[in-house]
């Protein structure tokens, strides 16, 4: 199984949606960039289409998923139609085949965006012999429970918080979000304990703005790893490393090369 806890020294370097800053996110090219930059773990999102095929996509908005080529929704489409709208979009199988072949030793962090596709995801990981180096995370407790039954021992991660309404994307909401994040950061250590106990998660995948030293310590006390997403700012990364974070998810793996200014 993948070692998520930071033993000593540096935390896990996790490429967000491949290496989203270096190539279009959630594409094979992006995964390639991440491998080239020697990340420890590659993270990507999985969404199911209407015909049950799993694809690498982080949301239902076709405009985002097709990198601006089309508009509409992703999940009602079949794979074939989705392919026409977004030619560079890989299926989960293609991505896993790539990782199994081209990135031996690199961990796989699959983020489930929808409930109900746990069996298919575990099946795909099993087909490509990737279960021994996989971490599967989700916002949904029911998903984590399903995963635990499908493959006990597979490390699962609890993702938090979920931006259900896409508020973070709105510029006007920014000051409000800063306040909200501060409030959540304060409350998180009190809530995280219960969540980790419920889900049996091996990792808590948290937005960097809600991570605090107390939250990280609590994860460690529960035997879980604390992972922060999505950190592109070396200053933030440096601060998180000092606080004891176990993994950092970044769009730009180059931030691990340089020094971390404080």
């Amino acid at each position: 199984m993948i070692a998520l806890r930071r033993e000593a020294g540096r935390p896990l370097r996790i490429g967000h949606r491949g290496a989203a800053a270096l190539a279009p996110e959630n594409t094979i090219a992006s995964l390639e960039r991440a491998v080239e930059h020697g990340v420890d773990v590659i993270e990507f999102d999985v969404l199911d289409t209407s015909d049950g095929e799993l694809v690498l996509a982080h949301g239902n908005d076709l405009h985002d998923v097709s990198h601006g080529l089309a508009r509409g929704r992703v999940r009602p489409l079949t794979l074939e139609r989705l392919r026409r709208a977004a030619p560079s979009l890989p299926t989960l199988d293609e991505a896993l085949a790539f990782l199994a072949e081209r990135a031996p030793g690199t961990g796989v962090h699959v983020d489930l965006k929808t409930r109900g596709c746990e069996r298919a995801v575990v099946g795909a990981l099993r087909r490509h012999d990737l279960l021994t180096r996989a971490l599967v995370s989700s916002f949904h407790r029911s998903s984590l429970a399903a995963l635990r039954v499908l493959e006990p021992g597979l490390p699962v991660g609890l993702t938090y918080p979920q931006d259900r309404y896409g508020v973070a994307r709105r510029r006007a909401m920014r000051p409000l979000i800063a306040v909200g994040a501060a409030a959540v950061r304060r409350a998180l250590p009190y809530r995280l304990d219960r969540w980790l106990a419920w889900t049996g998660a091996a990792a808590a995948s948290l937005h960097w703005a809600v991570v605090s030293r107390a939250a990280i310590d609590l994860c460690h006390a529960r035997g879980a790893a604390a992972i922060a997403w999505t950190v592109d700012d070396p200053v933030v990364a440096g601060r998180l490393i000092q606080a004891g974070i176990d993994g950092i998810v970044t769009n730009d793996p180059r931030i691990f090369e340089g020094p971390f200014p404080t």
Partner: protein, 341 residues
């Protein structure tokens, strides 16, 4: 003029801020180099996932030899052994449900993890958890498919001959035993073939042991005795005259009486007559086999000349020795068909 002045001031301020910021960003790096040393290398392989390349020799996981395999290959081997369907034999049918269909969960990843650090020749157990509810539900579907009720034979008259429908024994799957056997097999990763026990219930009425059946042809004044569907004997009888016809239909014998008394029935022809005790002059002869049709029965007669004619008051008359013989070969409950042929 004033606007350009402002712009100049703003630019100057930006430059100052930038310089300050860059200074602030660069200084701490020089001050604390120890913090960054561990993150500089990017090309080296990580120690997180590939520490032990292969498992030690002669290591087994749940009986599956995985010595010398990579953890991935070991997982695949253990998983393949786990995923083989469990072969069940129920009532000579072979079924092969997958273990996951039966709610079995193998802790294969944990076992591989333990095997990684296990010394040579270790037998690592493979923990398999089984959801008893799923097994019970599966056994219930099996029971639904394979359980059947016993079917008793039924008697009909077909073309003047008795015909007995086929009987079928009942079958019941021993559910508790089956559930326990399946759970034990799954937990031990045994894949069978596992024969599930069924209990058989015999039908209470069968074709073979059906017993005697009587068919009386009123028109031809004959009584046919069958054993089940097999013809045994035929007797000439006397049946009711047209004023007092023998009733048609399906009846059974309700009374058997040796040396009966004769009591006058509640009918016009018997008005004012006295009961007659057993003896040579008794109109019922020596045997009475009363039918479920009221007042009608099969009996011997002291008047052998009437046999073969429709002369009685509704009863079926037989010769006394034949009636005595028949008496020994029918039971209370024996079906009697009376047809007009």
């Amino acid at each position: 003029m004033r606007r350009t002045g402002l712009a100049a001031v703003f630019l100057l301020a930006c430059a100052c801020a930038g310089a300050l910021l860059s200074a602030a960003l660069t200084t701490p790096v020089a001050a604390s180099p120890g913090q960054t040393t561990s993150t500089t290398s990017t090309s080296t392989t990580t120690p997180t996932t590939t520490t032990p390349l292969v498992l030690a020799r002669d290591v087994t996981i749940g009986g599956v030899p995985v010595g010398g395999l990579t953890p991935e290959a070991a997982y695949a081997a253990v998983r393949a052994a786990f995923e083989r369907p469990l072969v069940l034999v129920v009532a000579r049918h072979r079924l092969a449900p997958g273990p996951e269909q039966l709610g079995a969960v193998a802790y294969a990843l944990n076992a591989v993890e333990r095997a990684k650090s296990a010394p040579e020749g270790t037998q690592v157990p493979l923990r398999i958890a089984v959801d008893g509810r799923r097994v019970r539900a599966y056994v219930a579907t099996l029971a639904k498919r394979f359980d059947r009720r016993r079917v008793d034979s039924r008697l009909f008259l077909r073309g003047l001959r008795p015909w007995i429908s086929k009987d079928r024994p009942g079958r019941t799957l021993a559910r508790t035993d089956a559930t326990r056997a399946i759970v034990l097999a799954l937990v031990a990763n045994r894949k069978g073939p596992l024969t599930l026990k069924t209990t058989t219930t015999r039908p209470s009425v069968t074709r073979r042991g059906f017993g005697p059946v009587l068919v009386i042809r009123r028109g031809s004044n004959r009584l046919f005795l069958y054993s089940g569907m097999r013809f045994l004997r035929v007797f000439g009888v006397a049946t009711g005259q047209s004023v007092y016809p023998t009733p048609l239909g399906r009846f059974h014998i309700v009374v058997k009486w040796k040396h009966p008394w004769w009591y006058p029935p509640d009918s016009d022809w018997a008005q004012g007559q006295q009961p007659i005790p057993p003896g040579p002059g008794n109109p019922l002869g020596t045997r009475w086999m009363g039918l479920s049709a009221s007042g009608v029965g099969i009996h011997g007669t002291p008047d052998p000349a009437s046999i073969g004619y429709s002369v009685s008051h509704g009863c079926i008359r037989m010769l006394i020795p034949q009636a005595e013989w028949l008496f020994e070969h029918v039971r209370i409950g024996t079906t009697v068909f009376i047809v007009s042929a």
